[in-house]
């Protein structure tokens, strides 16, 4: 890696520096838009005691679910974890800690983390178990909960196109959490379908400016579909 050339050519390079006990924030919604190869690399490295922040935790045998197989995740921060039998087993046995966070609050916590905002007030979750132990405040007659921001030692995202400066464009709803996640890592790694020459991405159409991204790796993705619904056409 030299200057602004952020392209790396191996997964070892892409995830170099990941250590036990670190926090990893991952983009994706269900299995849509997940950095498949970076997750596989974390499994291969065997890094343990991770705190993983992601909307979901994959499914059994795919996505972040593979990190449960060798008990690499100590704590999961997510909004919905209902797709994963191994997750359920480790949660019930007490091996895995989980912090359920409303989806919009999770997105905003990551956005705030990347934007240098330490916490914010939201009406979401007021009067529910989510607000327990948190500061609340009445503002203009409505009650709000103070939610702290999230940052990670690593942020891993999947994008459609990148250039060597780390500018990213996402594809369709595979965007989801990826743009916020990309801003919130000390080291942000983007796994992308295609790397193009600087200038090929229209500057005003870039979703994630390269300043947030430290490493880019090109990959082929399986893109597994979670719920295949079809209409007769």
């Amino acid at each position: 890696m030299a200057g602004f050339n952020k392209v790396v050519h191996s997964y070892d390079e892409a995830m170099a520096g990941l250590e036990n006990g670190m926090t990893v924030i991952a983009g994706g919604f269900g299995l849509c838009g997940i950095p498949e190869g970076l997750i596989a690399q974390i499994k291969k490295m065997g890094t343990r005691d991770l705190t993983v922040v992601s909307n979901n935790c994959g499914v059994d045998g795919f996505g972040l679910g593979v990190l449960l197989e060798d008990r690499q995740i100590k704590k999961m921060v997510a909004s919905y974890v209902g797709e994963n039998a191994l997750f359920e087993k480790q949660l019930l046995s007490g091996e895995l800690e989980v912090e359920l966070t409303p989806q919009g609050t999770l997105a905003e916590k990551i956005r705030a983390g990347g934007a240098g905002i330490p916490a914010f007030f939201t009406a979401t979750g007021f009067g529910t178990p989510v607000a327990e132990g948190k500061e609340t405040r009445e503002i203009n007659g409505r009650n709000y909960v103070l939610e702290p921001a999230i940052t990670g030692d690593f942020a891993i995202v999947r994008a459609w196109k990148a250039d060597r400066y780390g500018n990213l464009v996402f594809r369709h709803t595979a965007m989801n959490f990826n743009p916020m996640v990309a801003t919130a890592g000390k080291i942000t790694v983007a796994e992308v379908e295609e790397i193009v020459e600087p200038g090929e991405l229209e500057p005003s159409q870039i979703h994630t400016p390269g300043i947030y991204v430290q490493r880019v790796i090109q990959a082929k993705f399986e893109k597994r579909i979670e719920r295949r619904m079809v209409r007769q056409g």
């Binding site: 974890v81 209902g82 989806q103 905003e108 939201t122 007021f126 009067g127 209409r231």
Partner: protein
């Protein structure tokens, strides 16, 4: 007779107004999209980051990068917009979505809703439901009036952990349409052939009945 799932969805669809941005939850709420009244245009918001959700794709149109909040393959209509989760919940939290339709385990007479957690069973998570109920201008809850043992789901106070407080204004069940205000359920309509007595018997919370309660009308 109690309404079918499709009839509940048909009745909810009567709440749609021309020009509404609408978020439909999983289950019966999803079916509402099939019954949008003629001459009315609504735009469906899916909280994973899609405004202008279309029908399921044909086999040829399937794209793994195009899903809805239920993780189902989906299409976008012409004129749709796709954006990040933070942007999506800015729309929701900021009150820009006109109507949210979602299911629930329990609703109480003060508009509290419980829809995400049954202690002692596995907790799967709230997803976007807490943000939706905190942010929407208008929330319609769809559910069966009572559980399969006949126990009411319309209570004086929710017993399960809450999703949101004081946010539900309207409920469409398989037996009735009710408005929640002033600490009570107000009976607006009943399902065709369902008696006031049955609704009273299956409503545990405070129920207000004024005058003749009309039967629902389906086009």
């Amino acid at each position: 007779m109690a309404l079918s799932r499709e009839q509940v969805a048909m009745r909810v669809a009567q709440e749609l107004k021309d020009g509404y941005y609408v978020n439909l939850g999983i289950g019966i709420p999803t079916l509402v999209a099939n019954y949008v009244p003629a001459g009315i245009e609504v735009m469906l918001q899916s909280e994973n980051g899609l405004l202008g959700m279309g029908p399921y794709p044909t086999e040829a149109e399937i794209d793994a990068d195009m899903i809805n909040a239920g993780k189902e393959t989906v299409t976008a209509i012409k004129g749709a917009a796709i954006f990040s989760s933070a942007e999506s919940f800015a729309m929701i939290r900021g009150g820009h979505v006109d109507l949210t339709v979602l299911g629930a385990f329990e609703v109480d007479q003060n508009g509290n809703i419980a829809s995400w957690m049954i202690p002692g069973k596995l907790v799967k998570g709230m997803g976007g439901a807490m943000d939706l109920v905190a942010g929407a201008q208008n929330i319609v809850v769809t559910m069966t009036h009572a559980d399969k043992y006949g126990a009411s789901k319309l209570l004086d106070a929710c017993t399960l952990p809450l999703t949101g407080v004081g946010c539900v204004k309207k409920i469409v069940t398989d037996l009735a349409v009710l408005e929640v205000k002033d600490g009570a359920f107000h009976l607006l309509e009943r399902a065709p052939g369902v008696s006031i007595e049955e609704i009273q018997q299956k409503t545990a919370g405070k129920l207000v009945i004024k005058g003749e309660v009309p039967e629902m009308v389906f086009a």
